[in-house]
Amino acid sequence: MRRFALIAVPYLWLLALFLVPFIIVLKISLSDIALAIPPYTPTLDLSEGWAGIRRFFAGLDFENFRFLATDNLYWKAYLSSLQIAAVATLLTLLVGYPIAYGMARAPQEWRATLLMLVILPFWTSFLIRVYSWMGILSTEGYLNQLLIWAGLIENPLTILNTPVAVYIGIVYTYLPFMILPIYAALEKLDESLLEAAEDLGCSRLTAFWLVTVPLSKQGIIAGCFLVFIPTIGEFVIPSLLGGSRTLMIGKVLWEEFFSNRDWPVASAVAVILLLILIVPIILFQRNQQKQRETDT
């Protein structure tokens, strides 16, 4: 009985906070738009009994999903989101790995401080930090002022409202999610393994490729998923920094929901997004499982 209670807690959590909302969204995605409150039909009316339930189910269909398939805006937005997420993940890895490596190699007494510094940005609101990037990247922004003052450029660069700004925003925001798992993997790395590799004829660089990278593989995979998964659905960064030219599914979803007030189509977009995300999430879980197995 006690064991059942223990298992029940996470399952109830999952049921209340994931499964029930998902079923509601799924239901709305199968409904039709209506000028009503809520803005869709049918709604379940239990007062009519069995006939009401049957009418309710008869009113549901896949029309919205068919619509998503016919209008190429949507699949372009999905593809572009996947592409932006993939590129941004790679960029975050390229920036994050050296930082994690440096932290893991820093003297023991410095590591806690460095870790603190990586987490520190979370103490400020995410929105405020993204807004401040607008101040840095805009045409009259600090970055352009600095570059002009340094004499590197004559005319200000247009960075804000371009994909470059989106990438900067994503890399900046998700960097800690990349650094922390890689740091955790690198910190466990036994220094004598690198000495052994050198002893057996490796140069420093080959020892890094043959020992350090494979042994931090699971940290790299975990970090990449932690960046990739939330980036696909990212809405704030592309809408604040990307301008109208950046197409991402999170923005499309927001517009369907708030501008068009088309809840059924917005829900259909969300359901497809979730199905796309399930694949990397499952892969991520597998990786975590494998890591636990090798640790024991």
């Binding site: 036994d190 004598s192 393994l193 000495e195 052994a196 590799a197 050198e198 002893d199 057996l200 004829g201 490796c202 140069s203 080959t206 043959l210 020992v211 494979p214 042994l215 593989k217 090798t294």
Partner: protein, 374 residues
Amino acid sequence: MAETIFAPWDDPNAKPLIRFRNVTKRFGEFTAIDDLTIDIYEREFFALLGPSGCGKTTLMRMLGGFETPTEGQIELAGKDIARVPPNKRSVNMMFQSYALFPHLSIWDNIAFGLRRGRMPKAEIANRVEEMLRLTRLEKFARRKPHQISGGQRQRVALARSLAKAPTLLLLDEPLGALDKKLRQDTQFELMDIQERTGTTFVIVTHDQEEAMTVASRVAVMEDGRIVQVATPDAIYETPNSVYVADFIGDVNIIVGRADPQGDKVHLNWAEGQPKFIGTPASPFEKGQTCHYAIRPEKISISAQKPEGATNTVEGKVLDIAYLGNISTYHVELAGGQVIKAQKANNRRISRRSFTWGDQVWLSWTDTAGILLER
């Protein structure tokens, strides 16, 4: 026996494989190795023995190329290697933690060093198989390091470091992580492998028994200096200082004044007590302070005063340590000095001749004890 013939250190024409010449290593203020000079010969099994912090590991890491000496030269086969990086010298090391690559199989671990060279694939495979046979690991080739036992891991580490056929193999506390029984078996295996491959081994250990068992010569270290280098039996029988005598095995040290008589020295150790006669390690002057070192197993115990023994002294049994095969008797002499004497338990314990509080006679010959200056 090969052991008795093999003694290149006594041959003035023999060329040492490794020469440390006035090597000093400092870490900031701390001097880890202090002006050290030593020769190690080919095919030797050389042990560096000392307590932790004596510099033995630093000495080995300099041989491996992981530390560079602050001063002095290290020669390997006539070439100065002091500043050659680890991947450019034909020296391999077996790490204390074994440092096996956890992401590679046993096979790939052993092949790791071979793949760094230009060796053809087929030859690598042959060499790995040979190493697996040598260390009896054929069955485990496909496993990962975490899937085998500690003893097997130790053998993988050995196989991996031997695979490249180094001129010199360094072993850093190779048996430290094994339990006692396995350690003893592995010691003989190590000696066997060393003899079969003909590689020069340098081993670092703090376990004197291990050093005595495996080594052709032992260097006892203290505070970055080598106190004595000699064969295990010479270290045990004729230590050159109290430090060495005390570090290797069990010993009684009696302090007194010397009184040279011919090639023997008489020791005046207490008022009104008979003098002890022993063999001096170095010449003594009359009245000089000296330390009389004698091993417990060289002292015999009897109930009556033995006839014709050179050194005899009476005392009272204070304590008995029963170790199974032998017992150590702590005997208090008239002056309050306690001497340890060992006796083989060739009778059952119930028929033991002496017990607590018994008056006994201790006796030993004049060659059993050695007189040391410090």
